[in-house]
């Protein structure tokens, strides 16, 4: 049987083969394949995110506008709900029975074992009312959370609101860290400064066992971080002036934007009709949002940024400045008030210089100013000449921050439109249009579109004699000043001397004898206002009224644009409203004899319409 002894090697080989297979397999799953480590962490690590304290918002004078208060969400775990008396429960919550049923159904659909919010944003008193009875309803619990609360009833459009993140936003990479249901700024400054206001989340890693029971910190909390509160925003908005302006704009549609020309800081930002920022926070916020959304007056529409109107006569100033810089006219240039070219606003003295033209807002004068700028014989072909001229003119106009986004610190901003030669090529055909086609632009009518904010910025530029800082709402993020882009001074390519040549005309609009903007005069208080009225032709109804101004003329501290939809002639409504705001800002109060305006201006725009006989 000696030969059998060799079989021990077979047996040993079998042993070693199995050991080798195991060693290889173990090397693979333990060392090479990292997925098991991830799976192990998924098993045991629970990531608890600590939401940070959202930054506060202050106004220009340091008044607190937006702060955080604890609110409570009523959570439900559908599986734990036992024999719910929905009728009693809805009475307790003071909510309609149908709504409670619908919410419960939604929660059940989301998950039977995970908690989901049934009623959000309960205030402390609301919670107190139901908390004692909650013990009778198993499966319901209360989760505390911080929510926004407001110390002001105005500037809702500027502040924006905070709401839970939408599924659509969650898919974007910049929101990848947000959890479903987490709150963030949806519009306005809350949205634009989300990153700064949000702060940094704290993260704690907890170990859990197979039943989900917590077993302490992961590696003694080595990887845990504390949450860092968000930075505060210090706005340039003056909440008193804002509230005052909103009161004056009550009942109308339109916008008011006031800037500090020296810094580009936005002092007043009104979009009428207004709403109380409180409406978009707290219990029932969703319903109130839908109300606002379906309101035919469109209160959610952020008019100063989003509504682009033809600017009307206020645009004549830009037209004139471009022509002066181009050297095609001088301040002493006179043009006939030739009604054959374009109808003028009214019969007036002959505009023998730019001052008279501005004061009288003479349409034919500015028609001829633009024609001089555009048609300069760059080409023997008159179509091509108009084409080249308009292109050049447009480039210069756009230097004023028109026809493109200014870059204000808020989303939603519209570009407006300064039509290009290509625009007319497309509409009328190449070489199928001349200056006669586009002349409306010279008086701010026609295809041109400008937002309230852009017009205010033009006023600030004129006030500064040729430069501007991009308008912005936030003077300081935390203690570190405004965002760097708001410290960059932009020039518009027009020499200061040309501004000095038109400002006297603007002053005479307000303070001169028979000026179109005399209702805006503050001369009685020793303040000289430089301004320009505008009446925008509106094919859909009454004309829109605008007034753009800055004051004091020699040392401007405020530039303002008022736009009242269907307000008729700008001098009647927009001008006095601007005057009140400017006086309030410059003097801190309004002269007693102008109080009658404070009472007269609020309300519907109809009162401003003066029926003219034709």
């Amino acid at each position: 049987m000696q030969y059998l002894e060799g079989r021990k090697y077979v047996v040993q080989a079998v042993f070693l083969a199995v050991a080798l297979v195991f060693a290889t397999r173990l090397f693979y799953i333990q060392v090479l394949d990292g997925s098991y480590k991830l799976a192990a962490d998924r098993n045991t690590l629970q990531r608890l995110v600590q939401p940070p304290y959202r930054g506060l918002i202050y106004d220009r004078k340091g008044q607190i506008l937006v702060q955080n208060t604890p609110v409570y969400d009523l959570m439900v775990v559908p599986r734990e709900v036992k024999q719910l008396d929905t009728l009693r429960f809805s009475e307790l919550l003071q909510l309609p029975l149908d709504e409670v049923r619908a919410s419960l159904q939604a929660a059940r659909k989301f998950s039977r074992v995970k908690a989901s919010p049934l009623v959000q944003n309960l205030s402390t008193p609301e919670l107190a009312a139901i908390q004692d009875n909650l013990i009778d309803f198993p499966g319901f619990s209360v989760k505390a959370r911080m929510a926004r609360s407001y110390n002001t009833h105005s500037m809702a459009h500027a502040l924006g609101y905070v709401g839970s993140i939408t599924p659509k936003l969650l898919e974007r990479p910049q929101y990848s860290k947000y959890q479903p249901g987490e709150f963030l700024g949806i519009t306005g400054l809350e949205s634009y400064y989300e990153k700064q206001l949000m702060g940094r989340r704290g993260v704690q890693y907890r170990m859990v066992n197979v039943r989900g029971i917590e077993k302490g910190a992961f590696r003694g909390g080595e990887f845990d971080t504390l949450s860092v509160a968000g930075q505060d925003l210090h706005l340039s908005l003056d909440s008193d002036l804002q509230a005052y302006t909103e009161k004056l704009m009550a009942g109308k549609r339109g916008s008011v934007v006031a800037l500090d020309p020296k810094t580009g800081e936005i002092l007043v930002f009104v979009s009428a009709p207004m709403f109380d920022p409180e409406m978009l926070s707290g219990k029932g916020m969703g319903n109130r949002y839908m109300e606002l959304l379906n309101n035919p007056e469109q209160p959610l529409f952020n008019r100063p940024l989003m509504a682009t109107y033809p600017p009307g006569s206020t645009f004549k100033l830009v037209n004139e400045l471009v022509a002066l810089q181009a050297g095609v006219v001088t301040p002493q240039t006179g043009f006939a008030c030739n009604w054959k070219l374009v109808r003028c606003t009214h019969r007036h003295e002959t505009p023998t210089n730019v001052g008279i033209a501005i004061k009288q807002s003479c349409n034919p004068y500015f028609y001829q100013v633009m024609r001089a700028t555009v048609l300069r014989g760059r080409s023997s072909n008159r179509f091509e000449d108009a084409r080249l001229g308009l292109g050049e003119w447009r480039r210069k106009v756009m230097q004023f921050g028109l026809g493109e986004k200014l870059g204000v610190d808020m989303g939603q901003e519209k570009k407006g439109l300064i039509p290009s030669p290509e625009f007319y090529d497309k509409r009328n055909g190449h070489h199928r249009w001349t200056f006669r086609t586009v002349y409306s632009l010279s008086i701010g009518q026609g295809e041109i579109g400008i937002t309230g904010l852009q017009m205010a910025n033009v006023m600030a530029t004129i006030a500064n004699r040729g430069w501007y800082y991009t308008p912005h709402f936030v003077r300081s993020v935390g203690q570190s000043g405004p965002l760097p882009e708001y410290n960059v001074r932009h020039t518009v390519g027009v020499d200061p001397i040309h501004f000095e040549q038109i400002i006297p005309g603007m002053q005479s609009v307000v303070d001169g004898n028979g000026g179109t903007g005399s209702n805006a005069s503050l001369l009685d208080m020793g303040i000289s206002v430089a301004g320009k009225t505008g009446t925008v032709q509106n094919p859909h109804g009454e004309d829109h009224a605008t007034f753009a101004a800055f004051a004091p003329a020699q040392d401007p501290k405020i530039a303002i644009v008022v736009f009242i939809e269907n307000g008729g002639f700008g001098g009647n409504s927009a001008a006095p409203l601007a005057a009140l705001v400017m006086e309030k800002y410059l003097r801190g109060q309004v002269a007693p004899w102008r109080h009658r305006w404070e009472e007269w201006l609020p309300g519907s725009a109809d009162r401003f319409i003066v029926r003219r006989r034709h």
Binding site: L4, Q12, F15
Partner: protein, 457 residues
């Protein structure tokens, strides 16, 4: 040591006193074991039991427990911890070692069949008197101690078949002898299957390795291996493909042997028919013979991601625990998957998960090397036996340990179906530790006495 044994009750004291007494006795007896006992095996055994206990401690350690449980907990509370009970099992196992070494090794030879008979009776009786535990009636309760006769059936059967193979005139080529041997080997597992402990029954398949060493035709091993491969293929590959493949092979074989077609045709076609029959028999075996949970365990082996939260939970979590250990492991007591109960039966059948998670690949390699060292040593010890009985028994020991090693580690890393058998010397549990200790030390006792045999003969 700052704890008081008085707290721990009389048991520990009894162990200490008794072991002192026995050691004294052994020492004073003619020094027959001192030199001749195979200390390499003893050392490996102690190492494995020690390392095993560390892992049982880690697996049953709870971060919530007091820092110094021996000082602050009473005996009854301590008995709630597997690691503490394992100390007692190890202590008693060491006592058992002493008893085994005191017994005259000739007794194993002499009483092999007698023990076998007693064991068969016990296996028959057990299902009737045992309380059901975990779906099987295989545990006998003697006061506080629970024993599983199936565990001890292994070494007793090993003794009996070794005794039978050592019978003069016994020839494995003899059909009648083969039948008796098969009967001896298969009777205990059949009784164990009746008590619903399939895993323990499968262990008896390991005896084939020992029989192979003692002269069994390698053809039997090859046929069994081929059968296994065919079964596996039948589960994995569509049957039509298999039939096609085997038919092509048949045609090739016949064409290659066309000169002697008459001689080859019946055998080839016969083999082909058997193979095809097996292919179609798999369905029947799989669906009608296997129990539901057994079928699922095999399905999970073939497709591990099928049901990770249900039937696949054990294997999935076991692989996660081992796989997350990395090269060097998470450190002693630092395992999370095992500690937080993701791995089931973590101190018994799945103890290898703790090794893998806390000690990493380094730890699993040390374990595998320890097992290989022990198996090689046991083969070495078996080969140096002069008697067929001793040698066969040695190979039985190696085969049984090898089978447990294979299936237990294999199931934790997804290479074998989940079969509830322990990892020798590592897994928590008195029955398994005692039975493996007995298995191994009977061999060492026989080995130590082999020189005396020489002297006597």
């Amino acid at each position: 040591m700052n704890y008081d044994w008085a707290d721990a009750g009389g048991t520990a004291q009894f162990i200490l006193h008794t072991s002192y007494f026995i050691l004294h006795e052994v020492n004073s007896s003619p020094a027959r074991y001192n030199r001749s006992i195979d200390w390499v095996t003893v050392l490996l055994y102690l190492l494995m039991v020690g390392v095993g206990w560390l892992n049982v401690y880690a697996a049953s350690y709870s971060p919530d427990a007091p820092e110094n449980p021996l000082g602050s907990l009473g005996f009854a509370q301590l008995m709630g911890y597997d690691w503490f009970k394992q100390i007692i099992w190890i202590g008693t196992a060491l006592l058992l070692v002493l008893v085994l070494l005191v017994i005259d090794p000739k007794a194993y030879d002499t009483f092999a069949f007698g023990l076998y008979g007693v064991m068969i009776v016990l296996l028959i009786v057990t299902p009737f008197i045992a309380r059901p535990i975990g779906g099987s009636r295989s545990w006998l309760e003697l006061g506080p101690v629970r024993l599983q006769p199936a565990e001890f059936a292994k070494f007793i059967t090993a003794l009996a078949v070794s005794r039978y193979l050592a019978t003069i005139n016994m020839r494995q080529q003899n059909f009648r002898d083969q039948l008796v041997l098969a009967g001896l080997t298969l009777l205990p597992p059949l009784l164990i299957i009746a008590a619903n402990e399939t895993g323990q029954a499968l262990v008896f398949g390991a005896f084939l390795l020992a029989y192979f060493r003692e002269g069994m035709s390698p053809l039997i091993l090859l046929i069994l291996a081929a059968g296994g491969v065919i079964l596996l293929l039948a589960l994995l590959v569509p049957k039509l493909w298999l039939v096609l493949a085997f038919t092509i092979i048949l045609v090739i074989v016949l064409v290659a042997n066309r000169r002697a077609l008459r001689h080859h045709l019946p055998v080839s076609v016969g083999v082909w028919a058997v193979v095809i029959g097996m292919v179609f028999g798999v369905d029947f075996f799989f669906n009608s013979v296997l129990q539901d949970h057994q079928r699922k365990r095999i399905e999970i082996l073939l497709n591990p991601s099928a049901d990770p939260l249900g039937v696949g939970w054990n294997v999935t979590q076991s692989k996660i625990a081992i796989g997350s250990g990395g090269l060097a492991g998470k450190g002693f007591l630092q395992g999370t998957q095992t500690k937080f109960d993701f791995v089931p039966a973590q101190s018994t059948d799945f103890i290898f998960c703790t090794v893998g998670e806390e000690w990493g690949w380094a730890g699993t390699m040390v374990t595998i090397i320890l097992f290989m060292a022990l198996l090689m040593r046991v083969v070495y010890v078996a080969e140096r036996q002069k008697s067929v009985f001793g040698r066969t028994y040695g190979y039985c020991v190696a085969s049984i340990i090898f089978f447990h090693f294979c299936v237990n580690i294999g199931m934790t890393i997804g290479l074998a179906p989940v079969v509830g058998i322990p990892l020798p010397f590592f897994s928590y549990g008195g029955s398994s530790l005692w039975s493996f200790t007995t298995l191994l030390f009977i061999l060492l006792a026989i080995d130590a006495a082999r020189k005396q045999d020489l002297e006597r003969h």
